[in-house]
């Protein structure tokens, strides 16, 4: 059984410092308490302007950024941040459930996103995962146009997949799964999360549809589920991309 109490990030002495940016006082106050209880140090900014101003002195390890704010919204804040070469990891709190908007959020340089309202435990899981794969000062995988892992290469703009330079046909859903797994390498992604991220429906059709597409993906990539190079099944939990993922030159 999963522990109810989130354990502090393994291996780190100092508590990770989170900058929480949201204009809703009720959210910042409750989330601050929860994140502190979960082992983080938390600072708060009420809007994008304030966040950009205080960033220099605060130097947080990660920013949790709301999209809809009156003074400098989250998207614009993110654009300015990345525009000045700051690659502090960002998790966007999005309002819109449309897939197109989510892809846009990632292209603008967010490391991950979470739809409001969310389970706060899930936010902690995401923060830990992003911190784990963050490479200080280097742009994030989730904003890369092309990703490689071994002989595999995906082009996210044209939505095409190549193995050893030869294109592999994939359905849009299977591509979206591969893309999601590759931008979250070494992270166990539950079927439920894939359903809500890619299909947009949670727990409605059942998780079989995810398995069907994973089977398609493995067949296309000639990935043996018993000895996977790319997608591993984590029994009772979900799937994990186990290859090393790097940004490929465009």
């Amino acid at each position: 059984m999963k522990s109810r109490y989130p354990s502090p990030a393994p291996g780190s002495q100092a508590k990770p410092h989170i900058l929480l940016v949201d204009d809703e006082a009720s959210i910042t106050s409750t989330l601050t308490t929860f994140l502190q209880l979960s082992g983080f140090e938390v600072s708060v900014a009420q809007n994008g302007e304030q966040a950009l101003e205080t960033l220099e002195q605060l130097r947080p390890d990660l920013i949790v950024l709301d999209v809809l704010m009156p003074r400098l919204d989250g998207r614009e804040t993110l654009r300015r941040l990345r525009g000045r070469g700051d690659w502090t990891p960002v998790i966007l709190l999005t309002q819109i459930s449309g897939t197109a908007e989510r892809i846009m959020a990632l292209e603008e340089g967010a490391d991950d996103y979470l739809n409001k309202p969310f389970d706060p435990q899930e936010l902690v899981v995401r923060i830990r995962a992003v911190l784990r794969r963050a490479r200080p000062g280097i742009r994030t995988l989730s904003s890369a146009r092309r990703l490689t892992s071994g002989r595999l290469m995906i082009d996210r703009t044209s939505r095409r997949v190549f193995v050893d330079g030869a294109e592999i046909p994939l359905t849009p859903k299977a591509f979206a799964i591969l893309e999601y797994l590759m931008t979250h390498p070494d992270e166990v992604i539950t079927r439920e999360r894939l359903l809500s991220e890619i299909w947009g429906w949670e727990r409605v059709v059942g998780e079989r549809v995810v398995d069907t597409r994973i089977t398609e993906l493995r067949k296309a990539l000639a990935d043996d589920p018993a000895h996977p190079r790319y997608v591993e099944t984590v029994a009772g939990q979900g799937y994990r991309f186990i290859g090393d993922v790097d940004e490929a030159p465009t």
């Binding site: 989330l31 929860f34 709190l93 947009g200 549809v209």
Partner: protein
């Protein structure tokens, strides 16, 4: 306004009258029958006039009818758009308070030591989750009509076996007499969004299992009629009260005889939205206490 049927009769009647009189005029009949001078010409002209007037009125009626239909369609569309906008606003306004609620309850759960209090917080967390899911589903439903379909040729036989597989996972599967009826020979592929159609038929079967009792029959059948695919789910369950029939397809509405059966009133509304998006129709027949039949009609092309 003159009834349409009369106009349809008047048109051939006028033409026939004129025709007969024309025949009378050019044939020898005239020498046998005694006609006052030019009366036949008069009859021909009035017959033709009658036919022309009827034709004009028919055209007018059709045009007015068409306009009326279009206005109705526009009004229906406007109402749907307004409804979708309302759901989006509602969804938007509830997101922040719900986020705060989740965070506050999660913090409380981590700090409370008293077991009773923790149980209370756990209950509140579950309720907040339920509220979030409801809002999420309503929002999704509003978006469903607007999202682009992921069209592909759907192999109906494989589709049906996947739906059945899903049903087999249910704990109450063995307690029903479940049957599948497929026509002999291969079924043509159906162009559609496979996952959304799966969701729709899954929801129908879900309802069939929910609103039947142990021993009841549930039949899933597929047939092709006049270029349309008919997917039918028929059960011998508790049925839907006559007064609820037009309303059960609306979101959050539940039949009067379902109080003891858990449900959120979303399932059939999803079916309606998915099938309408595929230019298909949903028809619902039910007799209280005897069972329900839902038929999805989807165009093959």
């Amino acid at each position: 306004m003159i009834s349409r049927r009369w106009l349809w009769l008047l048109l051939p009647a006028g033409l026939a009258l004129a025709g007969v009189m024309l025949l009378v005029r050019v044939s020898y009949v005239r020498s046998i029958l005694v006609f006052p001078d030019d009366l036949d010409v008069l009859i021909i002209i009035s017959g033709l006039t009658l036919a022309i007037v009827a034709a004009l009125m028919l055209i007018l009626a059709l045009v007015l009818d068409h306009r009326h239909q279009r206005r109705l369609e526009q009004m229906r569309q406007a109402a749907l758009d307004e409804h979708a906008r309302f759901l989006r606003r509602l969804d938007h306004q509830l997101k922040n308070p719900l986020t705060a609620l989740h965070a506050g309850l999660a913090s409380l759960a981590l700090t409370l030591n008293d077991a009773d209090q923790r149980q209370t917080v756990r209950t509140l967390e579950l309720e907040a989750q339920r509220l979030s899911r409801l809002i999420f589903n309503l929002r999704k439903l509003a978006d469903l009509a607007a999202i682009p379909l992921d069209l592909e040729p759907v192999d109906l036989a494989a589709f049906v076996s996947e739906v059945v597989e899903l049903a087999r996972d249910r704990p109450d599967f063995a307690a029903r007499q479940f049957a599948v009826e497929l026509p002999p020979g291969p079924l043509p592929p159906l162009l559609g969004d496979r996952d959304l159609l799966l969701l729709a038929v899954h929801n129908l079967l879900d309802n069939a299992f929910k609103y039947t009792r142990p021993g009841d029959r549930i039949t899933l059948s597929v047939e092709v009629v006049e270029g349309d695919v008919l997917i039918r789910v028929q059960d011998t369950g508790i049925g839907i009260p006559q007064a609820d029939l037009p309303l059960v397809g609306e979101e959050l509405y539940r039949g009067g005889n379902t109080e003891h059966i858990p449900g959120d009133g979303i399932g059939l509304a999803v079916v309606n939205a998915v099938i309408a998006h595929h230019d298909g129709t949903v028809s619902l027949n039910s007799t209280l206490g005897q069972g329900t039949t839902v038929t999805l009609r989807l165009p093959l092309e």
